[in-house]
Amino acid sequence: MSDVALARRRTRRRVAALGLTVIAGGCWTAAWAQSAAARADSLRLGRASLQALAVAFTAARQEADRSDSLARYRLPRDTVRVGGLVFRVMPAYAPLARNTGTISWEQLDGMFGDAALSLSSHVFVLRDGMTEINRSQGTRTPTVELAEVVDGVISPKHRESVNIAPADLANRVTRLATAELRARQDVALREWLNPMLNPSSPAWADRERTYIELVTADARVSERCFVGDLLRCRQALLITPVADTLSELYDAAGWRRLVQQREGSLRSGRTVPDFDRCVNDSDFQECLALLRHSGVPVAPLGGAARHSLVRTALAAGGRGAYARLTSSSGKPIAERLALTAGVPVDSLVSMWRSAVLAARPVRTGVLPGEAWLAVFWATVLGLVSFGSTRWR
């Protein structure tokens, strides 16, 4: 009998045993409940025992799943270590793993500092992902998986099902690692940071995007932040609580634009007349009511702004900064960022704002190299025509 069949059988047995236990527990509870005086107590106890059984059941099922997947999970033999990253690879992929690891570790270490070392409890598995294209052309491209090592037992966690171009591999590894670190963040931090931090994208890219957001956002508050109002910056970054986001950060025209942008979700069924009153008749109070009623989350600035702020804090706080950020759960985000950076929050926001303003993406000007290249080619082509003959 195969490993898989064995594991399944084992799972079935466990589930059956647990089912019997649950029934027995139920009978026991019923017997207990005979006394009318003790009914309330017995119900409470019965519920507790059932809950305990449910917990045990879930744990057993997880254990069964794990043994089931372990039975099918085989790792390649070669091990490659780069920094805190451990790869298990097929021999052909060892050089690729070293390159990938070097790039990836640089990104992870640069952002998370010492906290990145905790990734050594995981292994990244590189193996062949065969597709029809690979088969027909005789080429090979790797897939990457992340597996966790607990007490020497390796269990798969994420499997990237698509094949990856080698050039993309480092980004994938970085992303898987970041997702793993993100899973350990507390909910408040994770929700505030959402979407996930991206160590593969350079810090200036976030700052450039933030600059563009600051000058093009619908919320009035972002414009105030741009001209130097730090309180407004904190509000736009959602680190200073605002009693009412819509009325404090946006003006009436902004409400209307918010509603208009969300036509797909806000103009359906019963809300059609409300939407039309807001957008067509410019009934701003209706816009506000519609936004309030729908409960759509509104943030004056996108994820790039918050990411650039966190990156500023991490850069200021040194190698232990990320650990301080994650270990300070329960405190307000502003305070946590101040702890992370080791400077007061206003200084941090001011640093962030200066960095963002300095990152203004000037791409419209003509670069000297570009201009000289055009002049060069114009001259070359002119010289070519000087060599032409007058005789036809």
């Binding site: 600059y211 414009e223 410019s282 791409r363 003509v366 080619w377």
Partner: protein
């Protein structure tokens, strides 16, 4: 001598130059026509809309630069070709000297077009109240336009100055690229020769790199 050549070339191409001058002035002015009032972040039109509108005018600048260069270079040689180059032969000048004079006159005739675009861009950006954080780039736009038009002028000038045989060579190179792709695809490969050649020509380090930058009068 230069004056005489410039004068003849101006005679041949003055309607074209005048048309390009008007177009060069008009495009930037037209591109800001909705951007007034200063009530940014309004319900109908905000900074993002302004940028999108500016972006949509990019190809029009490119077209004008290409058109001006190609039109003037063709008009510089068309009468010579039609007169079977008798005029050039009758002049007491070396060939290179004659070509230089024609080339120089052509470039001089492109100057008013770029100048008109610069003035148009200046007028447009001065009369537009910009939202916080955005900037106008009339100088960079005019410079890019000038370089692009001179470049397209040079390319067609070089082809037109040659004999039929040299034009044939140019055509043969193009056909060779097509054939190469055809052969590659016959043998089951992905035809990439034309794409990669064009990609290089228009890449930032290629011959026509100046055409593919950002043609924005107003940008961040």
């Amino acid at each position: 001598m230069f004056k005489a050549i410039l004068f003849t070339q101006w005679r041949w191409g003055r309607v074209l130059v005048a048309t390009c001058v008007v177009a060069g002035f008009a495009i930037p002015v037209f591109s800001v026509r909705n951007a007034g009032g200063g009530s940014w972040n309004g319900p109908m039109w905000n900074a993002l809309d302004l940028l999108a509108s500016m972006q949509s005018y990019g190809p029009i600048y490119v077209l004008l630069a290409g058109f001006a260069g190609i039109a003037l270079s063709t008009s510089a040689w068309a009468p010579d070709h039609a007169g079977r180059h008798v005029y050039a032969l009758s002049l007491p000048l070396a060939r290179w000297h004659y070509v230089l004079l024609r080339y120089g006159s052509g470039v001089v005739l492109l100057v008013p077009v770029s100048l008109a675009l610069w003035i148009g861009a200046l007028v447009a950006s001065v009369s537009t109240p910009l939202p916080t954080g955005l900037h106008a780039y009339p100088g960079a736009l005019a410079l890019r336009f000038a370089l692009a038009s001179v470049l397209s002028f040079s390319v067609i000038f070089a082809v037109a100055s040659g004999t039929k045989r040299s034009a044939g060579y140019a055509l043969a190179v193009l056909l060779g690229l097509v054939l190469a792709d055809l052969l590659i695809s016959l043998f089951g490969g992905t035809p990439v020769v034309i794409e990669s050649t064009l990609g290089w020509l228009f890449s930032s380090s290629g011959v026509f790199g100046i055409f593919t930058g950002r043609w924005m009068l107003i940008d961040v």
